[in-house]
């Protein structure tokens, strides 16, 4: 039975910042199929999910031609609330898709809105809790859950409505491997119940066992439409040309650090948050890292990776222990001068009205005069391929370019240690490779870099040292040798 039918659909956004348009999309999706939508960023996969769940044309404005039919209903002429019992939507960002503040009310939120009878809600709720195994998450504040847990509640909230179709827009991009495994179970459950699931994703590995069909989008059109079997038959080169991520290759790095005189020491680092003083968020005996290396920081969410980065950058003042860099003991004030963190959401870090102003702001405290500063700024922008954008407003740039502007600011203020917080989440293959190249350039000019990541591919591309966190402790840290690679592969296994 055909559940979903798109006939010659074209769409372009009224505000082109909101996404990529689509041209002449025609396809049908039968009941019970799990479909993976993939393609480079800007190919229109998110737009396609919005056409299905009715956010286009009811929420995002633009010009739409063609017809989308879901369960016999014309999407454009139905209201969103008529579609909500049929289509469940899960979005990318776990923190911006809950309406209430506690898990229980969030799960029944949709059911309550459409005025489902109480007994029915109770029944659906019990089933959802059971099917998704949510007992541990009940009666909690949503603000204290991890990204993976929030995403699970988002799934539960749509699942309680018992829709026939689930539409997911990059649901895994903020999750660690544990979160992804949970998400896989949820989707497998929906598949068993005979639901249709449509997932737009750029991380493909975890869907290989789940999806039945792959729709590859390119430039707003359907590039190819194939079964999972066919898709698996493609070689790695073919996939990379398509801009798709593949299975990561972790291989030992043969670089020797023995001759490296400069070291970066962490001794007896302890830190606990004000709210839970008795629990140590960070407890590290001794770490020794070579200056000028690229260190991958790995571990589950909540293991202390971000806390460590915050301490290193001098954001947390009440850290116990010593950090020595090139033989100097660094106090938190020195660290804030020496270190820079590229935050996961770069938007927080851009303040001015043009790219060049952004760099000038970073040099405000330096002794150079105005013209010298301008020369230096242009040099840095040239190095980072940003010279063409120097007068653009930073907020009008793409995600990758913003990241680069942020790094440019770090260079302008002569920071020596660069920390990246999940820099490649949400990047397609080409952008990830560009980022890896940038990391290598930074290494060339002698920066020490630390990358917090859940992405094995970026580790395979550029990390020559690895650090593994668990429960606030560093379980091991070492150069990326055969041992470390084996342990990583084990950790990233689905």
């Amino acid at each position: 039975m055909t559940l979903l039918k798109l006939e010659n659909v074209s769409f372009s956004y009224a505000d082109s910042d909101e996404g990529a348009g689509l041209r002449n999309i025609s396809t049908t999706i039968p009941q019970g199929q799990v479909v993976l939508l993939c393609g480079e960023s800007g190919c229109g996969k998110t737009t396609l999910t919005r056409l299905i769940n009715g956010l286009i044309p009811h929420f995002f404005e633009g010009s739409l031609t063609g017809k989308v039919t879901v369960c016999g209903k014309d999407v454009a002429s139905s209201q969103l609330y008529e579609l909500s019992p049929l289509i469940g939507s899960v979005f990318q960002n776990p923190k911006s898709q809950f309406y209430t503040v506690d898990t229980d009310s969030e799960i029944v939120f949709g059911c309550e809105n459409i005025g489902m009878p109480k007994e029915q809600i109770q029944k659906n709720l019990d089933e959802t809790i059971n099917n998704l195994n949510l007992y541990r998450l009940l009666n909690r504040s949503l603000f204290e859950l991890s990204g993976g847990e929030k995403q699970k509640i988002a799934c539960a909230s749509v699942s309680a409505l018992h829709p026939k179709i689930f539409v997911m827009d990059e649901p895994s991009s903020n999750l660690d491997y544990k979160g992804i495994r949970e998400l896989m179970n949820v989707i497998a459950g929906w598949k068993r119940d005979g639901c249709t699931v449509i997932i737009a994703e750029h991380r493909l590995e975890w869907l290989k066992t789940l999806a039945d069909r792959v729709i590859y989008m390119s430039d707003g059109q359907i590039g190819s439409d194939m079964s999972m079997g066919e898709f698996k038959g493609k070689t790695e080169e073919e996939l990379h040309v398509m801009g798709l991520r593949t299975e990561p290759h972790l291989s030992p790095v043969s670089k020797s650090w023995e001759n490296n005189e400069d070291k970066f020491f962490f001794r007896n680092i302890t830190f606990s948050y004000k709210k839970s003083r008795d629990r140590k968020a960070l407890d590290i005996d001794m770490i020794k890292l070579p200056v000028g290396s690229v260190v991958g920081i790995v571990g589950e969410n909540g293991a202390g990776k971000s806390t460590f980065a915050g301490c290193l950058c001098g954001l947390e003042k009440h850290m116990g222990g010593n950090i020595l860099y090139k033989g100097n003991n660094l106090m938190s004030k020195d660290r804030i001068k020496l270190c820079y963190m590229v935050m996961q959401n770069v938007n927080y870090q851009l303040f001015t009205e043009s790219v060049v102003d952004e760099l000038m702001l970073s040099m405000e405290k330096s002794k150079f005069d105005e013209t010298e500063k301008r020369v230096k700024a242009e040099e840095i922008l040239k190095k980072l391929d940003l010279l063409g954008y120097k007068d653009r407003h930073p907020m009008s740039l793409s995600g990758g370019q913003k990241q680069r502007v942020s790094i440019a600011c770090a260079l302008a203020s002569d920071k020596e240690i660069l920390v990246y917080d999940e820099p490649t989440s949400g990047l397609d293959y080409h952008h990830m490779i560009d980022f890896a190249a940038l990391i290598k350039d930074m290494q060339q000019i002698g920066k020490t870099q630390l990358i917090i990541t859940h992405d094995p591919e970026i580790i395979g591309q550029c990390c020559d040292n690895l650090m593994f966190f668990e429960n606030g402790k560093v379980l091991w840290h070492k150069a990326t040798d055969a041992d470390a690679v084996a342990m990583m592969q084990n950790f990233f296994a689905l």
Binding site: F59, I129, F143, L315, F351, S362
Partner: protein, 243 residues
């Protein structure tokens, strides 16, 4: 299959119906802001000001309660003691404002109490029972979720500014701009995502909303209302006869 009871929680010592809390909020603000503080009324005003303090104690927020008490006492008694010793300019500009804040703070603290002890669904249920339209309920209910989000976003921006070493106060106007631009950008984008997600779950449905949440008046609410009646039966005659 196990049956799960929604909203079975009772983690606060004084469990009041949201409507009672709303009434208290209104009474405290109106009495202190619009009422007078002449003569005996000045002492009667201490009673509504004490209410948020008692509620904070009941929540075991001793630190907040003490801070509130200290701020109130300083504003109430400190200013009148200091006025004779301060230059006129300072008195005109600041002392009046501080003295007036004794009338605002209790209402604000009561509002904080309302927001922190009421869940979104309790609030929506209460509003539905009072037949308040969705046009009013939806924006207020979003505030419950947005206040913590605003705090999260604001700390993130502050962190970003410290990383860029631009947190100084040499140029306060610029600092405000640097702080507000990324902050507003991210709050707006969260708001948009939130609206999209809520709409796909039927927020705009015209049919009558089912409320799974059980609220209702108990003896505690009766006590509060009786106390309010007693208070006003003293307060109003005094206020009227003093004229």
């Amino acid at each position: 299959m196990m049956r799960y009871c929604v909203y079975g929680k009772n983690n606060q010592s004084i469990k009041l119906d949201p409507r009672t809390k709303l009434l208290l909020c209104l009474c405290i603000s109106v009495t202190l802001i619009a009422g007078s503080s002449a003569g005996v009324l000045r002492y009667l005003n201490y009673i509504p000001a004490l209410v948020p303090f008692l509620f904070m104690i009941s929540l075991k927020k001793y630190k907040n309660a003490l801070i509130y008490l200290a701020v109130y006492v300083v504003c109430e008694f400190g200013t009148s003691a200091l006025v004779p010793y301060l230059p006129d300019a300072v008195n005109i500009l600041f002392t009046g404002v501080i003295a007036f804040s004794t009338r605002l703070i209790p209402g604000a603290m009561m509002g904080w109490f309302l927001f922190s002890t009421t869940t979104v669904s309790e609030f929506v249920t209460a509003m539905d029972r009072m037949h308040v339209t969705k046009k009013i309920t939806v924006p207020i209910s979003v505030m419950f979720r947005f206040l913590p989000t605003i705090r999260e976003e604001y700390t993130a921006v502050q962190k970003a500014m410290r990383l860029r070493e631009i947190g100084s106060f040499r140029n306060p106007v610029k600092m405000l701009e640097y702080r507000m631009v990324p902050f507003l950008m991210s709050v707006v984008s969260i708001g948009n995502d939130l609206a999209a997600s809520a709409l796909t779950r039927g927020l705009d449905s015209p049919c009558k909303r089912t409320n799974m949440c059980r609220i209702g008046f108990t003896w505690r609410d009766v006590v509060v209302v009786v106390l309010l009646i007693i208070f006003y039966s003293c307060y109003i005659p005094i206020a009227v006869f003093r004229r």
